[in-house]
């Protein structure tokens, strides 16, 4: 049997087009953020944009290769790929290079790689393979739940050991995948509520929150038909929440160190810190805010020209977009990003094979999580966690790994047409 090549018509062109659009805007933004009048050549490989251009070349080439590989390859080699990425993560612990406090880099012949980036699609493949296995059911079987969580947790722990908090958090995005595969919605809801409760606990006095909870529970019980079970449940929720709020407050006051408290207070807006963690955010907000409606125009941004936004070509790349293209450009960017996520969601749901669908959901979740944290951070809505904006941020490992992540899914999706044919 010859490998089944995807027909050009079966490739999802919308996604591919968006991909090329994103990397192009990304490259221009990286160019703009390190641009100097004295050194305007985009081909200069000593500059970030020159390097990014090379990485784009490599990424597109590998992406194309992926489209040519038999789609069964990914299914068959899901575990080995996962194994390799885990092995590389472990290798970093032994022979890693430290860059800016995180020892998550590995240096091979002058090129630096961040295995944590590749662990994302490795994990996505592994979880897809596991849950699509015969007789596996995440919704019902305890063991399947444990093993799935273990698959996700393993890279998280190693990455955390590398002092790379941002990448660790990304793996939380798999919650959405598990949700799709049967994780009850109330857990997602409860998690969300807990997060809100946690933030509230830091913002206002625990006593007020507990009073508020009791009042809310009272109103709730007045409105619904009271059964004994419901009353006990409500009381239980209030008691547990109160305890939680109290302990969060206690931990914040007594266990956390001063600088950690400061960082959290800065994020919550209780304190303003213009020097440390707050500096980046302050500068980022100025850059975006100064863009106005129309923006300053390509290469006209001043915040980036004077490097007032640190890390602008990597984690704060959205500043360049906000400053140079204004509200109009930023909105278009957000909408385009949403279009891509929506498109991927549709693609994931139309898969007939469970493996493809789970993988598709992983891709959507990872991309969404990056968007949520990265853009939120530049807007001052999220904590300063250094994770890149997929396809835009400068960084070879990230670009390559997101390309592989996306193109595997495009390849899997392209096969859908073949599947239909096989059925015919």
């Amino acid at each position: 049997m010859t490998p089944q090549q995807p027909k050009p018509s079966s490739i999802d062109w919308i996604t591919l087009l968006l991909y090329f659009l994103f990397i192009t805007i990304g490259l221009l933004s990286v160019y703009a953020s390190v641009y100097k009048e004295t050194n305007p050549h985009i081909w200069d490989t000593t500059q970030n944009y020159g390097k990014q251009l090379i990485w784009i070349g490599i990424s597109v080439f590998i992406g194309m290769l992926i489209l040519l590989i038999d789609e069964k390859f990914f299914f068959a080699f899901a575990y080995p790929i996962y194994g390799i990425t885990i092995f590389m993560l472990l290798l970093v612990l032994v022979a890693g290079t430290t860059v800016k406090g995180s020892s998550s880099w590995i240096e091979i012949g002058g090129f630096r790689m961040q295995p944590a980036e590749f662990a994302k699609f490795g994990t996505a493949l592994a979880i897809a393979k596991y849950l699509s296995g015969y007789n596996k059911d995440f919704a019902k079987k305890r063991l399947d739940q444990y093993i799935s969580i273990a698959i996700i947790l393993a890279p998280m722990v190693i990455i955390l050991l590398q002092n790379e908090t941002g990448s660790t958090l990304v793996f939380f995005s798999f919650v959405f995948v598990l949700y799709r595969e049967g994780l009850p919605g109330w857990i997602l809801f409860a998690g969300f509520m807990l997060a809100i409760l946690g933030v509230l606990a830091l913002l206002i006095k625990p006593l007020y929150i507990i009073i508020g909870l009791v009042v809310l529970a009272g109103i709730f019980l007045l409105l619904v038909r009271r059964t004994k079970a419901l009353i006990f449940l409500t009381i239980g929720v209030v008691v547990v929440s109160s305890f939680l709020v109290g302990s969060i407050d206690y931990a914040f006051q007594n266990i956390l160190q001063n600088h950690q408290r400061t960082r959290i207070n800065v994020l919550l807006g209780k304190e303003v810190d213009i020097k440390g963690a707050g500096y980046n955010v302050q500068q980022s907000k100025i850059a975006i805010g100064s863009g106005g409606f129309w923006g300053k125009g390509f290469l006209q941004g001043t915040q980036n020209k004077f490097r007032f936004v640190p890390e602008q070509s990597t984690d704060f790349i959205f500043c360049t977009i906000g400053e140079e293209y204004g509200f109009l450009g930023s909105s278009i960017f957000i909408i385009l990003y949403m279009v891509m996520l929506w498109r991927l969601l549709v693609m994931a749901e139309r898969q007939r094979q469970k493996f493809n669908r789970i993988y598709g959901y992983s891709v959507v979740s990872i991309l969404f999580f990056h968007f949520l944290i990265n853009v939120g951070m530049t807007l001052g809505l999220m904590p300063v966690i250094g994770i890149p904006l997929p396809f835009f941020s400068y960084g070879g490992s990230a670009l390559l790994s997101f390309t592989i992540l996306l193109f595997i899914f495009i390849r899997l999706d392209a096969n859908r047409v073949n599947e239909l044919k096989n059925f015919d």
């Binding site: 949700y179 490097r307 007032f308 968007f371």
Partner: protein, 612 residues
């Protein structure tokens, strides 16, 4: 159906996030114009506000140290645009090669980044500054920062005030980032000990500047700014007039003068000779001048009164007389004969035998060798070591043999040999009084710094206690800034043993070895010393306090390699005491003239140290 619902839920989450972010963008970019400010290109710049360093006054409010503006030429390398290098070099008076070298050097500095301001040239002259200011617009990226350096009102008391200089990498590390490259910090003297008080606290100002570094106003109306806290002014306990006289009298001599107010422990004068002009160590020539002073064979930077140990010589006999009485081996009536010395210690001709008081007055060596012998060979103790330990304890209680804790940098320990020291040389139980007899007359291994001598004098003047000598009287107008300088340190000698010794000291001045130091109308108690030293001619030593009944000043004078204590040290001390107590020092013009004429260093220091 359920699956579709889940897909929809996720989509709703995505869209809500997108919506929130769009709202936020709308707020940042369109509603809140504080981020937009103006159509101009605005960038936020952090500026450091340097506080004025505290001024230093003497005890009577005479200004000693003040601040002077200096101008640093700084540059924001990335903002350099179309620089006419030749014109630039011409204004600065440097060559193109210099320019390139300076730039390279700047780039190699720690923490250099093209978008951060860096100092291109430190402390440009005022004419250069003026010329530069005119053309500043042509040299985009360059700007002038104003800072303050020290300036000294008088050319005296350099060792007391110390000097400031740029921080070292270690200072920066120790300060946890408070100091930055190029900041000034106190390096010695009061400037160092009171760096925290004098230095104040730097402030920060956030301003918006346009792309040409022109200020466009405060960021958010100064919400984030912190004000600089000016350094506090300090009043030294130094009497400027006394200090000036001391340095004048010590001109062309090597040595020290320390004067202390006994009741308070305040240092009235601290002279280290040869001195240097404090105004040498300011400005951009600081480094060169410092090296010059460092290489000077007379070591003008060496703080002699605080750290140079001398054998005290005969002035140690005062402590011997007190210790002997306390150990009950000596009383005022104890008489010893003198046959031109004791063992190998010689003595000068005088009446014999003598009781204690005249023995002090004539400074009989034999007498105090006998006292030392009776202390160390005291049968009360089983071994000479035990007797010596108790002797050591008494002497140490005068503040000898260890740092006193003066609030100045660079204090020395001096040396008071403990029993173990002799054990090491002679073996345990194998030495006794005669082995170490020279200690009895203040010779041998003893090393005492001038400030320790002055402190011991103050202790005698106080009849049994001292207050740790200190140099600062007021900080920020508040008196008594350091509570540790209120404590009376009592000696182990009973107060009742002091009067007879003080009477002896009074005799020294009235009719004894220091007759030359007598000031009509002022009762003074003193003791001369002629300290032998292995390096050359004897040191001339004198300590005294006055008036005897209500001591206002205790003083110790050491003139190195000058011979008898009465020849140089006593007259100098006498003139100093007169100056401090009466405000005059010209009642005995002949004496003063002689002191000024004395050139013991055989070189003319006037040019190097004095401008007056």
């Amino acid at each position: 159906m359920d699956k579709k619902k889940k897909q929809k839920t996720l989509l709703i989450i995505f869209i809500s996030v997108a919506f929130i972010y769009l709202c936020r963008l709308f707020y940042l970019q369109i509603v809140d114009d504080s981020y937009f400010l103006s159509a101009q290109n605005n960038v936020l710049q952090e500026q450091t506000i340097y506080p004025a360093r505290g001024l230093i006054y003497d005890r009577n409010g005479e200004l000693l140290v003040y601040n002077d503006a200096i101008y640093d030429l700084s540059v924001m390398p990335e903002q350099i645009k179309n620089l006419d290098t030749l014109a630039f070099c011409e204004v600065l008076g440097i060559t193109k090669d210099d320019f390139i070298k300076k730039f390279d050097k700047m780039k190699k500095q720690k923490g250099y980044a093209p978008w951060k301001p860096a100092v291109f040239e430190r402390q440009i002259t005022i004419p250069t500054y003026a010329a530069f200011q005119e053309k500043l617009y042509d040299f985009q990226g360059f700007f002038v920062e104003v800072r303050t350096d020290r300036k000294y009102q008088h050319n005296n008391a350099a060792h007391v005030m110390g000097y400031i200089g740029e921080v070292t990498d270690r200072d920066i590390e120790k300060s946890e980032g408070y100091y930055r490259m190029g900041d000034f910090i106190g390096i010695s003297g009061v400037e160092r000990t009171y760096e925290k008080e004098l230095g104040g606290k730097k402030g920060t100002r956030y301003v918006l500047v346009d792309s040409k570094s022109r200020s466009q106003g405060r960021y958010k109306n100064g919400e984030f700014d912190t004000a600089a806290v000016a350094g506090q002014n300090i009043n030294l306990s130094i009497d400027y007039k006394l200090q000036e006289l001391g340095e004048l009298l010590m001109l062309n001599k090597t040595g020290s003068i320390v004067a202390i107010e006994p009741q308070t422990g305040e240092i009235l004068s601290l002279v280290s000779s040869p001195a240097y002009n404090p105004n040498l160590l300011i400005g951009r020539d600081r480094g060169n001048k410092y090296m010059e002073l460092l290489r000077d064979p007379m070591k003008p930077l060496f703080n002699r009164p605080l750290s140079a140990p001398y054998p005290p010589g005969s002035i140690f006999k005062i402590l011997m007389a007190l210790t002997g009485q306390q150990e009950k081996v000596l009383n005022p009536a104890t008489t010893y004969g003198c046959h031109h010395g004791y063992m190998f210690v010689g003595c000068h001709p005088h009446g014999s035998p003598l009781p204690l008081r005249p023995a002090i007055a004539v400074s009989c060596n034999a007498y105090f060798c006998q006292v030392y012998r009776s202390i160390v060979n005291n049968p009360k103790y089983p071994h000479a070591e035990d007797a010596y330990n108790s002797f050591y304890k008494h002497i140490a209680s005068f503040g000898l043999g260890k740092k006193l804790g003066v609030d100045l940098y660079g204090e020395g320990n001096g040396f008071l040999p403990p029993a173990t020291y002799y054990d090491k040389i002679y073996g345990r139980y194998r030495w006794q009084a005669t082995t170490t007899i020279s200690l009895g007359i203040g010779q041998g291994e003893l090393g005492i710094t001038p400030i320790q001598m002055a402190n011991a004098t103050a202790t005698v003047a106080n009849r049994g206690y001292y207050i740790t000598p200190h140099i600062v009287k007021k900080i920020g107008g508040k008196t008594n800034p350091n509570p540790q300088f209120n404590k009376k340190n009592w000696t182990t000698i009973d107060t009742s043993y002091f009067p007879i010794v003080i009477e002896g000291m009074q005799d020294v001045v009235e009719r004894g070895t220091a007759y030359i130091a007598r000031i009509p109308g002022i009762s003074m108690a003193g003791k001369t010393g002629t300290a032998q030293n292995p390096h050359g001619k004897d040191h001339s030593v004198f300590f005294a306090f006055a008036p005897v009944d209500n001591p206002k000043i205790a003083i110790a004078v050491v003139v190195e390699n000058a011979g008898f204590g009465a020849t140089w040290a006593a007259p100098i001390a006498s003139l100093m005491i007169e100056q401090y107590l009466t405000g005059k020092h010209n009642t005995r013009p002949h004496l003063k003239e002689n002191m000024l004429k004395g050139n013991l260093n055989h070189r003319n220091d006037t040019a190097a140290t004095k401008t007056k």
